[in-house]
């Protein structure tokens, strides 16, 4: 996504899509009568098939980043459903398509239910798991010979409408399916699901903690991908006419899909379309010159070189240098056409497209690093310069009165194997408190934060928020109950602007809303943490202090009751610490209860209304700062051993 790109749905984009679709439909309906060669229709039909496949793959693997090597599952099941039912059992073609869709959707849900329940699932393992599925299915088809008769199945063409020939028909069908897939891909990208999937792509744990129901959105994405892939596979059976295990379950299908998506770009709905057009065009030209044996070599080289040099894909590069690409296309295409010494129209067009792609990729990379960061200079030394709020009120304003118990830990323990990270913690957190959580390294502070935010489940004991036991809830449910946290090492969503980082948290917070509604609110939260001037910047251009402020803005964006700050001041210089302290105080005054893990006792003495000291997993002291700090046990355990603090 380019900076400044408006991510909300634009009527203009929809209109352009609709016009292109109508144009292509008209081409299919009337083109042959006007002398449009029918082999172009075949080629366009092939392009449409791959657009549909790659777009369906992109829903999960592109948007959410779960790379699948298993697209052949859907192509195979879809094609087999149609081929076997219509070819061997006489079912009408149009009845088989929805059946294929349902079947593939169910298989996708099955894969998702297994894969996404794996606790320690990593992207690589998911990729290999999806690789195994087509193997299993093709083995199944081979064993049960009565599925396809053991030889493959011929797909009978359906009854055609009177004035269409078969080429036109298969092209129009493929076009409709491709339009459906691209449409879904477009709508998903511009919906709540799109924001959720991007958040999952960037950092799944953070997304979950901010309230995104990650499992649900991954299931939606994989199921939608399965349904679309199945429909396209079903139409593919008709296109190829004869279906065998090798032709639809083979590795070439995921290979093509991956190369197209990597080439086109995976974060945007248009990427797979671009990739499919280019790759199919190139393949077609290579085979027209009898270079079929070079096909795979080109594909492999494109994949290897692009992943290493331009992992963001063609789409982003084209947006960076649209004119250079256009000029390259016009020049190459024009020179070839005028000189007319080599090839025919299609060669010239494909050559022009390749030139445009090359120009965009090479030139776009030079522009890419200089992302337009917000113009204001860094303001960490004098943070007040950019601070829109009168910060001096902080010291004079009364802290909110302490109210009822919000969070209640009852005999909470967490063991990692034999290590007792926390033992028997009983702790009440009251509304309006600002609790400093201190203790030597390894005393269990971060473990307690992880338990409260739901990242871990306690071994024993219960944690109540407003009387509700949260120990069995998923982290996103805990977020909706009113718990938010920051991370010691900031984990921003790297592909979103600072504003959208916060807006995503608002969208999936306690009161769900759309991205458009969330953005203005996000600016308010950014102002609270003095980051308003960096709303359009990307996290990569922020320094540590600014990232930690962003963490806080994102955490309060979900409108929490309790905010857990995990070492939010670590690694800051004194001026930055002062600024961060002001921000924490401002958040506290807005009515949010805060638990802050911190080593700087000087800071906690100023800030905290109460201090809890942990040592070796138990509560050593708990009370107001002055009393706790003079407790001999605390001095011995904490200050004594770490006198340099």
């Amino acid at each position: 996504m380019k900076p400044g790109a408006v991510k909300s749905r634009s009527p203009r984009g929809m209109a352009i899509l609709a016009i292109v679709l109508i144009g292509l439909l008209a081409l299919g309906l009337f083109g042959p009568n006007l002398g449009f060669p029918s082999f172009y229709l075949v080629l366009l039909g092939t392009i449409c098939f791959w657009i549909a496949q790659t777009s369906s793959w992109n829903l999960l693997s592109g948007y959410a980043g779960y790379f699948s090597f298993g697209q052949a599952t859907y192509v195979g099941v879809g094609a087999y459903t149609t081929a076997v039912l219509s070819g061997r059992h006489g079912v009408g073609f149009f009845w088989t398509v929805p059946l294929a869709a349902v079947l593939c959707g169910l298989i996708a849900l099955g894969i998702g239910a297994v894969a996404f329940r794996l606790g320690s699932l990593r992207g690589e393992i998911f990729a290999l798991l999806t690789l195994a599925v087509p193997f299993i299915l093709s083995a199944f088809a081979r064993i049960n010979r009565d599925v396809d008769g053991g030889q493959g199945t011929t797909v009978p063409p359906p009854d055609l409408p009177a004035d269409l020939d078969f080429q036109q028909f298969q092209y129009l069908l493929a076009l409709v399916v491709a339009a459906l897939a691209v449409g879904v891909s477009y709508l998903v990208q511009h919906s709540r699901a799109g924001s959720a999937l991007t958040a999952i792509h960037d950092d799944e744990d953070v997304a979950e903690v901010l309230g995104v129901p990650t499992f649900r959105y991954k299931m939606i994405a994989i199921a939608a991908g399965g349904v679309l892939g199945g429909i396209a596979g079903s139409v593919y059976a008709l296109q190829i006419g004869f279906v065998t295990v090798e032709s639809v379950f083979g590795l070439t299908i995921p290979l093509f899909v991956i190369v197209m998506a990597v080439l086109g770009g995976r974060g945007h709905w248009l990427g797979p379309v671009l990739g499919a057009v280019l790759i199919v065009g190139l393949q077609d030209r290579l085979s027209s010159y009898g270079l079929d044996s070079w096909n795979a070599i080109f594909l492999g080289a494109i994949l290897a070189v692009l992943v290493a040099t331009a992992p963001d894909g063609l789409h982003a590069r084209l947006r960076a240098r649209p004119w250079a690409a256009l000029i390259a296309f016009v020049v190459v295409c024009g020179v070839l056409a005028i000189a007319n010494v080599w090839g025919e129209e299609l060669d010239w067009i494909v050559a022009g497209m390749l030139a445009a792609a090359a120009a965009a990729i090479v030139l776009g990379s030079r522009r890419a690093p200089s992302r337009p960061v917000a113009a204001e200079p860094e303001s960490t030394a004098e943070p007040e310069a950019a601070d829109p709020e009168p910060a001096d009120t902080a010291d004079t304003a009364e802290p909110p009165p302490v109210g009822d118990v919000v969070v209640s830990c009852r005999q909470v323990a967490k063991h990692f194997g034999g290590v007792h990270a926390l033992d028997d913690i009983t702790l009440d957190i009251r509304a309006g408190e600002l609790i400093g959580l201190v203790g030597p390294n390894g005393s269990g502070k971060t473990t307690l934060v992880n338990l409260l935010s739901g990242a871990f489940r306690p071994t024993r004991g219960e944690i109540l928020v407003d009387g509700q036991d949260i120990t069995r809830l998923a982290p996103h449910r805990i977020a909706h109950v009113g718990m938010a946290r920051t991370y010691q090492i900031p984990k921003p969503f790297t592909s979103m602007t600072v504003r959208d980082n916060v807006a995503t948290a608002i969208m999936f917070g306690r009161t769900p809303m759309s991205l458009r509604q969330a953005r203005p609110l996000a600016e308010e939260h950014l102002a609270t943490v003095s980051l308003g001037h960096l709303a359009d910047a990307y996290p990569a251009s922020l320094n540590l202090h600014q990232r930690q402020l962003l963490e806080m803005a994102r955490a309060i964006a979900a409108n929490p009751k309790v905010l857990l700050l995990d070492e939010a001041l670590a690694g800051l210089n004194p001026a930055e610490v002062d600024n961060a302290v002001r921000v924490v105080r401002r958040i506290h005054e807005s009515g949010i209860t805060i638990v802050i893990v911190e080593h700087l006792l000087r800071v906690l003495n100023q800030l905290a209304t109460r201090i809890v000291v942990l040592d070796r997993g138990t509560t050593l002291a708990d009370g107001d700062p002055a009393t706790v700090m003079s407790d001999p046990a605390v001095v011995r355990a904490y200050l004594g051993r770490q006198s340099h603090v």
Binding site: V114, A132, I136, R142, I297, L303
Partner: protein, 289 residues
């Protein structure tokens, strides 16, 4: 009796799976590179053995004198490339997938896509077998098993007992920190890449002894070999060997009891179960790798 024979034959074939998997597993575990091109090295190794034997009548095992150094260099070059590109773990999977596709297509252009097998006249190993009582073991699978055992033992000893091995394990745990303590990451990773290339040469030669070759076989190895890598635990040398045997036995027994075609079905179902229950590998002690 059939089942006993199938179990033992399966275990021996499992040696070949382990031999194929070990390079993948170690580079993944130690160097954080998922090197699919390793399959390409095995394939080219097998074809080189086939070509040398067929053209000049060399004994197939003697071709190792050529394939081992060639694959050592190829493995090291690949590793150098991955190092230079500084790829993430996942991107290494994609880049090496691209390289594998190229390798397979090149093999197909050079040696054709048809099945090719070494002539029985030049390949005395293919037809010989050793029988113990009523059990019969083909020499080729015995050879694969012994070689795999030696490689695994060697790799295990190198990784556990030698200074180089300790340095490699340090890289596996934290390569930046290992570097700070003076471990030369680049040189060692080249060495390791070369060594894993060597295992590919061995696997390729052994495969060529008993099987007909076609470039597409490289894809067929995917499933079984990754099953072995994941079941054995990524980077675990002994685990890989054990998992290879286990996978071989499962395939062998299922083939006899039901039909050969059901073997992959059972196998992959077993892998999914294993992933659900023991995601770090069957033999892991639960320690973080």
């Amino acid at each position: 009796m059939n089942v006993v024979q199938a179990t033992l034959s399966g275990a021996l074939i499992g040696g070949l799976y382990a031999l194929m998997a070990i390079g993948l597993s170690v580079t993944w575990g130690v160097l954080r590179v998922i090197n699919l091109a390793h399959f390409g090295l095995i394939l080219i190794g097998a074809y080189l053995t086939f070509q040398l034997t067929t053209s000049w009548g060399v004994d197939p095992l003697l071709t190792l004198a050529v394939t081992v150094p060639v694959m050592f260099v190829a493995g090291a070059v690949l590793q150098w490339l991955f190092d230079r590109l500084a790829l993430s773990e996942f991107n290494s999977l994609l880049v090496s997938f691209g390289l594998l596709i190229i390798t397979i297509q090149v093999a197909s252009n050079v040696w054709s896509a048809d099945f090719q097998r070494m002539d029985a006249a030049v390949n005395p190993y293919a037809t010989e077998s050793i029988s113990i009582g009523r059990l019969v073991f083909p020499v080729t699978t015995l050879l694969a098993f012994v070689l795999a055992g030696l490689v695994v033992l060697g790799a295990h000893l190198v990784l556990r007992r030698t200074f180089t091995g300790r340095a490699l394990r340090a890289i596996a745990q934290d390569s930046a920190m290992a570097g700070a303590f003076g471990v030369d990451h680049r040189r060692l990773s080249l060495l390791l890449g070369g060594m894993m290339g060597t295992t590919a040469a061995l696997a390729g030669t052994v495969f060529a002894l008993s099987n007909a070759l076609t470039p597409e076989t490289a894809y067929e190895w995917f499933g079984v070999v990754f099953a072995v890598v994941i079941l054995g635990g990524i980077g675990e040398v002994l685990g890989t060997f054990a998992a290879g045997i286990l996978v071989g036995v499962i395939s062998g027994v299922v083939s006899v009891l039901w039909s050969p075609a059901t073997a992959p079905f059972v196998l992959f179902s077993a892998i999914i179960l294993a992933l659900l229950l023991r995601p770090r590998g069957l033999f892991s002690t639960g320690a973080v790798r």
